[in-house]
């Protein structure tokens, strides 16, 4: 039998090569340090989750807000004295040119 191209091809196919190692990915696309994410990272939040989070934050703020300060006790007019003598003065006009 002749050792033709087809037979040679079959023989060559017995030599298999391994796949690329996993480390290759990190050599081509190196992972940046984790803290860089704090400056450059982004988060994708689904709209329903974002709205729910806003509602929860609103409710928490509403229940924890500072109460409006109301003066303690009742107001007493015991020490109130009306003005003894009113001395109204009527100023008719001022001439600033002199």
């Amino acid at each position: 039998m002749e050792f033709n191209d087809q037979k040679l091809k079959e023989l060559l196919q017995k030599w298999e090569a391994p796949p690329a190692p996993r480390e290759l990915f990190f050599r081509v696309f190196p992972t940046p340090p984790w803290w860089r994410w704090l400056w450059t990272g982004s988060i994708r939040v689904p709209v329903p989750v974002g709205l729910a989070a806003l509602v929860v934050l609103g409710v928490v703020w509403f229940w924890n807000r500072e109460p409006v300060s109301v003066p303690q006790g009742s107001v007493s007019l015991a020490d109130f004295h009306p003005v003894d003598q009113l001395e109204p003065r009527i100023i008719r006009g001022v001439n600033y040119e002199h």
């Binding site: 050792f3 191209d5 037979k7 023989l11 060559l12 030599w15 090569a17 796949p19 690329a20 081509v28």
Partner: protein, 169 residues
């Protein structure tokens, strides 16, 4: 190319590029370095790939080929990359896989790259010619010489088991 397209290209072609480099050099470390260089150059200059000039796979294999030849020249492993007078000797291995590996890696680089791209990576003659920057006629000649040399090198395996070549020796 966007970042996600580059990552997709890496996922699709990393094994082909690594396999080619591994068969060309026989060294896992060198193959990893070559594959890294090939993809880093694509990441740095994605515009260097022109889809009008062929498939991305052929382009990347061509880049891997250039890196491999650069290494051969630096290491001076081959004085002449194409040795038309190269005559293969029968390989002396017990295991058929070792014998095939030794026979292919004994080929001069230009014959070896043409054979690997044709037999293992299924590139067409035109794609090989583009990847190795030569004419189709030159690729045909190199493939012919490579197959002749392999027939001589692997003759002992075929002569002892001609019917079992396709079914495992």
């Amino acid at each position: 190319m966007t970042d996600s397209e580059l990552r997709q290209a890496f996922d699709q072609h990393k094994d082909a590029v690594y396999r080619f480099a591994w068969r060309m050099t026989g060294s896992p470390e060198a193959s990893e370095d070559i594959a890294q260089e090939v993809f880093l150059s694509l990441v740095r200059r994605p515009e260097s790939y022109d889809p009008a000039r062929g498939s991305l796979r052929a382009f990347l294999l061509g880049a891997a080929r250039n890196q491999a030849l650069k290494r051969f020249r630096e290491e001076q492993r081959w004085d002449v990359l194409e040795e038309e007078d190269f005559a293969a000797a029968p390989v002396l291995h017990v295991d058929v896989v070792d014998a095939v590996a030794a026979a292919v890696q004994a080929l001069p680089p230009l014959q070896r790259e043409a054979l690997i791209l044709a037999e293992y990576e299924d590139l067409s003659l035109e794609e090989i010619a583009r990847a190795v920057e030569t004419e189709v006629g030159a690729v045909k000649a190199r493939l012919h010489r490579a197959r002749e040399n392999l027939r001589k090198a692997l003759a002992p395996f075929y002569e002892t088991n001609p019917r079992r070549v396709g079914h495992g020796i």
